[in-house]
């Protein structure tokens, strides 16, 4: 590089010269020097070395890992089939995995050193645990779809119920569906949400905005309640309302049981979201003369809207799949019942529960189809929650990543950078 006169051979104390003697002018331009006098020439592009990102995971590591994998495979293959009588791929995989870990550790501690070997083996363990979990989740979701979708009769699934389920019927698949279950779930969840969400938000407002006596107690209770088993919620409603003949088996009773489950989780999340709203906003509203209820209604809640929406969506996603409380309250039914206040009502989880324990394949197929519908509802709610949970600031993905990098860099080096927006 002609411009690179910054050679270490320059004696200390002497300014690294450009090409001329002009040292006093600000060196904002490139290192390429120009004549001292006269108009400054346009800056020529600097030629810098290419940046690298050093890492410790090199060719040696990869080779050793591959070698360990192959040799453990061979070893287990031999031992497995000769010595042990294991059936099934699962046992083989487990043995192979353990041998792989052992060989990796031995190999690396010989070739490199023990400290690195332990580090790598832990790395493999951690990565495989995460992959296992993620893999299983994805597998389960896809598995339900694969078991259900090929057998769905789209005409009847959403339009028929099981009233006319006669196994002898040759055209049976067009005569049965799960409409009763779908209606049941929708009604029960809707009523539960309509009644439960306002109470949950009110409780969160009480905890965070109004406060006063009993806050700590109520908060502890909410935390405790969120661990209440769903089956307990079901038999609670049963023992308090149905046994005492205040209510019959009905979808409404189910809604009440679902409220018991919905309340604590939504309350806690909304409380957390409200806490993040800056106090300055409340003060501004109060200073303008707004009463407290107005402040909460028009300032605090709208600011926290995306968080509240997320909380509600996730709460609903949770209760949609609950089965146990429904056993004691809605009781289940195979016919359509639109009035949730009167008679037993079906629901998707209940349909799955009952049909999956039947012996005939039609019932089991229906169970899977109901599971597919239920799974889809949960997925839609989950995705919706993540979409609505984003902050209002619209950043593209790379900008988000960039600002994360910038943020990290800002920790180490406070040069002026454009302001990084608030992370959600």
């Amino acid at each position: 590089m002609s411009t690179d006169t910054d050679m270490p051979t320059a004696p200390p104390g002497v300014l690294i010269p450009t090409t001329s003697a002009s040292t006093g002018t600000a060196r904002t331009g490139p290192v390429t020097g120009s004549a001292a006098a006269g108009p400054p020439s346009p800056p020529k592009p600097r030629r810098l070395p290419t940046p690298i990102r050093p890492g410790d995971f090199g060719a040696t590591d990869i080779t050793l890992l591959a070698a360990a994998a192959l040799s453990s495979l061979a070893l287990v293959w031999v031992v497995f089939y000769q010595l042990t009588l294991l059936s099934g791929g699962l046992g083989f995989l487990v043995c192979w995995y353990l041998t792989f870990l052992a060989l990796t550790w031995i190999g690396m501690s010989q070739v490199i050193e023990r400290q690195v070997a332990t580090d790598r083996v832990v790395g493999v363990l951690v990565v495989s645990a995460a992959l296992l979990v993620v893999g299983l989740v994805v597998f389960i979701v896809l598995w339900v779809a694969f078991k259900a979708v090929p057998h769905i009769h789209w005409g009847s699934l959403f339009t028929k119920d099981q009233k006319s389920l006669e196994l002898a019927d040759p055209n049976i698949l067009n005569h049965v569906g799960i409409l009763h279950a779908i209606i049941g779930t929708l009604e029960q969840v809707l009523v539960a949400a309509l009644l439960g969400v306002p109470v949950a938000i009110a409780t969160a407002v009480f905890l965070n905005e109004v406060g006063g006596r009993g806050v700590k107690l109520v908060r502890t209770v909410v935390t405790a309640m969120s661990g209440t088993p769903s089956v307990v919620a079901g038999i609670f409603i049963y023992s308090m309302l149905i046994l005492t003949h205040v209510l019959t088996y009905s979808g409404f009773a189910a809604s009440l049981a679902l409220i018991v489950i919905l309340l604590p989780s939504v309350t806690r999340v909304v409380e957390e979201v409200l806490r993040v709203v800056p106090g300055g906003l409340r003060e501004a509203a109060l200073a303008l003369g707004a009463p407290q209820w107005r402040t909460v209604w028009s300032v605090v809640l709208p600011t926290a809207r995306s968080g509240v929406v997320t909380a509600v969506l996730l709460g609903v996603a949770r209760i949609v799949g609950e089965t146990a409380p429904l056993l004691f309250t809605a009781f289940g039914s195979q016919i359509i019942n639109v009035n949730e206040f009167a008679h037993p009502q079906g629901a998707l989880p209940l349909a799955i529960w009952v049909e999956s324990r039947e012996a005939n394949s039609i019932a089991i197929s229906l169970a899977f189809q109901a599971a597919f519908v239920l799974m889809s509802i949960v997925l839609i709610l989950f995705v919706a929650a993540r979409i609505f949970g984003r902050t209002k600031g619209k950043k593209s993905k790379s900008a988000q990543r960039q600002s994360e990098d910038d943020f990290m860099a800002r920790i180490f080096m406070p040069i002026p950078m454009e302001k990084v927006g608030d992370e959600q």
Binding site: P8, V14, G55, D56, E113, Q402, F412
Partner: protein, 277 residues
């Protein structure tokens, strides 16, 4: 340079005691640094001599700390960070292929701006923690702890309570503990990133004294905002500067006296005379 797979001929930048028996020579050549694509340090070339104290001075935000962190391969810990150039410790490029960061950091230690002893460990265990990482068992733990704490100027204050938790000390004591901890692994170079900026004057003076005392065994590179401190402790000074929206560079470096009394560059003169920064 570590020879792959050849354990017998392993050179010392791999692990183990330094055969040179003490302070190392560290030379940076053409060092550049990027954060997330943005160039923040440009072509820094600087020798830091054996058994000497080199001070890096300059206004904040000029890349002094970034440069320091490149010297012991801490820069790459930040996601999105990149670098270029070479850093040689006693002739071996620490960024060469086959060199592991973990090994480098055993030979080039660092003391941070905010004291960070391990709060869950006792004082004695803190001092020995670096040795635990490199799986070195000292012949006599007690002697080593005493030696290091004495060098750091902390021994008299804590000798009766070595079992107490490291987090229970005052700020100045914590920083001296961190120095003792770094010295325990017998590094060849000790990097110090504004070690006294958060401390009271008494602790500051004590640490400066420590720096002067250890310079024989350990080369010291210290980043400081305090020009008087630079004058007091360092043999060589390097002046960093970054103009507006520009990456940082070394404007001038040389013997401390020269930099402060007859700097060659006007900007250096302005800075050391307090005109800015």
């Amino acid at each position: 340079m570590t020879v792959e797979g050849d354990t017998a001929a392993r050179h010392t930048i791999g692990r183990g005691e330094s055969p040179l028996g003490g302070a190392g020579q560290i030379d940076a050549e053409g060092v550049c640094a990027w954060f997330g694509g943005r160039l923040v340090l440009e072509l820094v070339t600087l020798p830091m001599d054996r058994s000497k104290v080199t001070a890096l001075i300059g206004p904040s935000g000029c890349g002094k700390s970034t440069f320091l962190r490149i010297l012991n391969r801490m820069h790459e810990v930040v996601p999105g960070a990149q670098l270029a150039g070479s850093v040689r410790l006693d002739g071996t490029d620490i960024y060469g292929s086959g060199q592991r960061a973990v090994d480098t950091r055993r030979h080039i230690g660092m003391v941070f701006q905010k004291p960070n002893p391990f709060p869950a460990m006792s004082i004695a265990d803190n001092v020995l923690s670096g040795l635990r990482f490199s799986r070195v068992s000292p012949a006599n733990r007690g002697d080593l702890v005493e030696e290091m704490l004495t060098k750091a100027g902390l021994w008299n204050e804590v000798k009766d309570r070595l079992g107490e938790l490291g987090g229970a000390l005052s700020g100045g004591q914590q920083q001296r503990l961190c120095i003792a901890r770094s010295l325990a692994v017998r590094p060849r170079v000790l990097l110090m990133d504004e070690p006294c900026s958060a401390l009271d004057p008494t602790s500051t003076l004590r640490i400066e004294q420590t720096i002067k005392e250890i310079a024989d065994e350990v080369t010291v590179v210290i980043v400081t905002h305090n020009m008087q401190q630079a004058q007091r402790v360092s043999d060589t000074c390097a002046f960093f500067l970054a103009a507006e929206n520009q990456p940082g560079r070394v404007i001038e470096w040389g013997p401390t006296d020269t930099i402060f009394t007859e700097p060659s560059d006007q900007r250096t003169a302005d800075y050391v005379n307090g005109q800015f920064g």
